[in-house]
């Protein structure tokens, strides 16, 4: 099997809503979102963010993923700069009803994985038709 080559994906600037006082870059992380019948999983690329820097919230069906990183001062002189470092922010409207209490998140190798369990699988309700 020939493996696919990874390509550079352009970093998109995130819109924090209002302007921040600090002049620091903020990007929208690339995400994968998938659903099973039990939960919705969001995977977000946030290199450089530690567990302390992650801020997750789900309010009024809006999931906010925020990753704050400690931006280090650049060492020495720049010879080549192909990417910019910054914080991460992205918001999603979640259509499904989520059990807020059971949201789980883990961070590995700069990748955040959030599991949002659905509240009680929506059972298709069968309506019996009686012969009358």
């Amino acid at each position: 099997m020939t493996e696919q080559e990874l390509k550079i994906q352009e970093k998109k600037t995130a819109n924090p809503g209002d302007e921040t006082t600090k002049n620091e870059a903020c990007f929208a992380p690339h995400v994968d979102i998938f659903e099973t019948d039990k939960d919705v999983t969001v995977i977000a690329d946030m290199p450089g963010v530690t567990t302390e820097g992650v801020d997750l919230s789900l309010e009024d069906n809006i999931l906010t993923i925020q990753g704050n990183r400690v931006l280090q001062k650049q060492p020495g002189r720049i010879l080549l700069e192909e990417y910019e470092s910054g914080h991460y922010l992205r918001r999603f409207t979640v259509a499904e009803t989520i059990d807020q209490e059971k949201i789980e998140a883990s961070l590995n190798d700069g990748v955040l994985r959030v599991r949002l369990p659905k509240t009680g699988p929506a059972q298709p309700k069968k309506i019996e038709v009686k012969m009358g």
Binding site: E3, Q4, E5, L6, K7, I8, Q9, A25, H30, V31, D32, I33, F34, E35, T36, D37, V40, T41, I43, D45, M46, P47, G48, V49, T50, Q74, P75, G76, R77, I78, L79, L80, E81, E82, Y83, E84, S85, L107, N108, D109, G110, V111
Partner: protein, 152 residues
């Protein structure tokens, strides 16, 4: 702070050295005053790299989210630094349906010619939270050395 870069200084006086110095100065000026990002060079091979220079070392950084240390290979040959690795982002759970797919899986390989000679024995690399930092010490021949001036 003027270094002559990318080539060892030739034995004869390089008539273009002064232009190179001016160009570097202008580059630094534009980096300071023009919006960041505009002056950035675009990478066309994954991963995008940043390279910094200190007096005695070079620092190469790359953002490699989801790449495990055991899937990353680094090698140096002369003045060429090779970076190879792969990222596996396939989900094993059955019965999933994707809503968004922006993260790719695959392999990458990038070779980089270093601007100065480095000491191949003194290379440190660490991968933390998806950020790779490679520290390469310059070869002793190109490291600036303090020379004591003795008074007589």
């Amino acid at each position: 702070m003027a270094f002559i870069r990318f080539a060892d200084r030739p034995a004869f006086r390089n008539p273009w050295a002064e232009f190179e110095r001016i160009r570097q100065g202008l580059d630094e000026l534009s980096r300071t005053y023009v919006d960041q990002g505009k002056t950035q060079s675009r990478a066309n091979v994954y991963p995008a790299l940043n390279i910094y220079e200190e007096t005695d070392r070079l620092i190469v950084t790359a953002e490699l989210p989801g790449v495990k240390a055991q899937n990353l290979e680094l090698s140096i040959e002369g003045e060429t630094l090779n970076l190879q690795g792969k990222r596996d982002n396939k989900q094993s759970e059955p019965g999933i349906s994707y809503h968004r797919r922006e993260i790719e899986s695959g392999s990458f390989s990038r070779a980089l010619t270093l601007p100065v000679k480095v000491d191949a024995e003194q290379i440190g690399a660490k991968l933390s939270n998806g950020i790779l930092t490679i520290t390469l010490m310059k070869a002793s021949a190109v490291t600036p050395r303090q020379i004591k001036v003795s008074a007589e």
